[in-house]
Point group: C3
Chain length 160, copies 3
């Protein structure tokens, strides 16, 4: 099964691009391909229409651990949507490299890995244990843009 077939089998849909403010021209690329390297900018959780997913805020505060896990899962889908728009076909991805998982953390919240598992679990489900394997950090941020609960940056590698 291809990645897209697995997504379909799981009932998952890649969302539309993040809704940017009208007229905004971003001075960076969501996904930047150089040779076989795919640099992926920090992504947050979005709904199918590209709006920011709720709830916003800090995990361990107004956002529960379970909601943080779900946000990390949505972040994986948002990232795969961006990557697909950049490279055309997700089958071009040979391996995952590095995942940097940032959790907007309420004071004293120290379960960042359990939140970012929402991302890693989805990647392993759709890419399988070998192709989806990745190195990872899961850490607690003071603040994130627009009060998103999770932001994740990554590097992937294309087939030669």
């Amino acid at each position: 099964m291809t990645v897209e077939e697995r997504l379909t089998a799981l009932g998952l849909v890649l969302p539309a691009p993040l809704q940017a403010p009208p007229g905004a021209k971003l001075p960076f690329a969501w996904v930047h391909v150089v040779g076989a390297r795919v640099f992926v900018s920090g992504h947050g959780p979005t709904n199918a229409d590209g709006s920011l997913a709720r709830p916003l805020g800090k995990v361990g505060g107004e956002v529960s651990l379970e909601q943080g896990y779900a946000a990390a899962r949505l972040t994986a889908l948002a990232m795969l949507g961006s990557v697909k728009r950049a490279i055309g076909d997700l089958e071009r991805i040979e391996r995952w490299g590095r995942v940097f998982g940032m959790v907007n953390s309420a004071p004293g919240f120290d379960r960042q890995p359990a939140v970012i598992n929402g991302f890693s679990d989805l990647i392993l489900e759709v890419f399988g244990p070998e192709r989806g394997q990745h190195a990872r950090s899961a850490v607690g941020m003071a603040e994130l843009p627009f009060r998103i609960p999770v932001e994740i940056e990554a590097e992937l590698l294309l087939r030669a």
Copy 2:
């Protein structure tokens, strides 16, 4: 126009190296070149003489958004100064890869992208839209060294 010609046309000057404490021997390199990869350590904003630029502190607190944007712009110049000292000629840079923008953030400040735009805008101005394109994250840190308002890490790629 070369990158240095564009800097000159914009009236911009690359600053001297960061003034380190007397006798300090850093156990890392500001710029570390391995093959075609240029790993750039986290840089902060400096004045032309290599002293830390003011104001220091948290954006959204004692540092305004506009001052944060200006600090990110100065950080780009500091980084280009370090890269030039390491590789000799900025024309050797073929592409930008990844930019990781960290904003020393006051509680509740969530406009990190508007701050780090000071860095991205400058890079695009002097490298142009294709060569200067990059992936980016812009996130909120609890604290940064010496209370700098912005710290930015990057990876660039040299011509083969």
Copy 3:
């Protein structure tokens, strides 16, 4: 002298793997090798038996600067232990690339570089000044998993 001989000469021992909760299956790899690139997940300080080293908490608060430095040194050993288990022989490492040093920081603590020096100093001691050279950031996090005082992520490069 090899890296392992230098470790022995310094009286240093690579610790056992991090003790994970019973039954836990991690959805990521501590060390992920793709071609010549070695992506290393965020590591924290451990004791020889793989338990988390004490003290836990924030540097500049319940953890002193000196204890933070020691924690960063233990983190280097934990990372080398993981890398050795992944690649078999530390002599396969040709160069260090990037080190991202995160310090669990009490409010107002701004000496993250002095903490992460515990990591960099050890790497330079055992790999030497050329092979151990690296780019580095040292920054202040709001929270880290399990309240570890230091977490460090890295990329290394293998011999061709």
